[in-house]
Symmetry: C2
């Protein structure tokens, strides 16, 4: 599966979960095409490449599609995340409910400010960073979201890797690079630089692509 | 300039602004390489392609580089943004100070909840969406950041376009497509789907690329 196809499959999967939630049983390639922002022909091509076939004029059974796509996406295992840095952005992500349809759970937050540990207005517990290893092990965490001030980004990243968290989503403007670990494994790092994205929008507005 | 080069130039520009802030006057290709996550050879190649030359063994003058790169990036004009949807994510972005080194300013927020208009704890004023056209015109806004619930995403997008805001950063899980306007111009839309990014990290952890 290439990256573009993976993105589409993930979008189909999310849409299917939503359609199921609102009580639908069948879906047509056109429905998924709209949701994923592609043509119905691409949806059919994706499915036939993955040996998923619909019924004649009947569309696809949502339940069947969810099983097939879920297997392809490696669903079923734990998808537990933690948030390092519980400032405004960290807290906003903690309260965000858009991860649940995908089976992704934010299970804990970490912060350096002791004042926040007793604040019970958060949907998940917040711990001092010194308890990272213990929480990661107990809660089977595989991804860490870094939302600390930029000067703390590299340190947070190293602590995550040391605790065995090999998936990282980084919201700081620092670019974190995947560095091979002693056992040869390579972390998966996605850097999301919001300021850079904004810059690019202004740039593209000023100098439109031909 | 291709996209990769644009991303690098933007990163150089940001790093230079920071270095200037802390009082430096000169910079070497190696400094910028570290900041942008590339090799020094690439920095030198970028600069020579753009006809920017350093001094022998003396590096580059930061002030000169800022002028040259700023022109390339179309700096100097207004880079005013608004935020549509002042929930947790919208508010977090409003308080984020990481845009300022790039000259990007968030100048106003919009929300459908009247309770928020008199809340003065926000760094910028928050208006009802009915005042969008007026505020966009008065404050010379060219980019809108959409942080509304997903069911309001398409409507917010249409309102922005109607108000003449042709740059959009969309944080909802809905994929917004650039649609050519009556005058033939094409909006610049960046969709940032945080849940999808997280999904991909879990997927790549499970099925590492070879």
């Amino acid at each position: 599966m290439n990256t573009d196809q993976l993105i589409r499959i993930t979008r189909y999967y999310r849409s299917l979960n939503r359609l199921k939630t609102i009580g639908l049983e069948k879906v047509f390639a056109n429905n998924l095409a709209d949701a994923a922002g592609v043509s119905a022909a691409i949806v059919r091509k994706d499915f036939s490449q993955l040996s998923i076939y619909g019924q004649k004029r009947g569309g696809y059974q949502i339940a069947d599609l969810l099983v097939s796509l879920g297997q392809l996406l490696g669903k079923g295992d734990s998808q537990n995340c933690i948030i390092i840095g519980c400032g405004r952005i960290g807290k906003a992500l903690m309260h965000y409910t858009g991860f649940e349809p995908d089976g992704i759970r934010i299970v804990a937050g970490f912060d350096s400010d002791p004042a926040i540990f007793n604040d019970t207005t958060h949907p998940v517990p917040i711990y001092p960073i010194s308890r990272l290893d213990e929480v990661v092990k107990n809660l089977d965490v595989s991804v860490g979201i870094i939302t600390v001030p930029e000067q703390a980004a590299s340190d947070s990243y190293e602590r995550l890797l040391k605790a065995g968290v090999m998936g990282v989503m980084n919201f700081t403007p620092i670019t974190l690079k995947p560095v091979a670990q002693e056992d040869g494994s390579l972390p998966v790092v996605h850097n999301i630089n919001i300021a850079l994205e904004l810059e690019q929008i202004f740039y593209e507005l000023k100098f439109p692509k031909q």
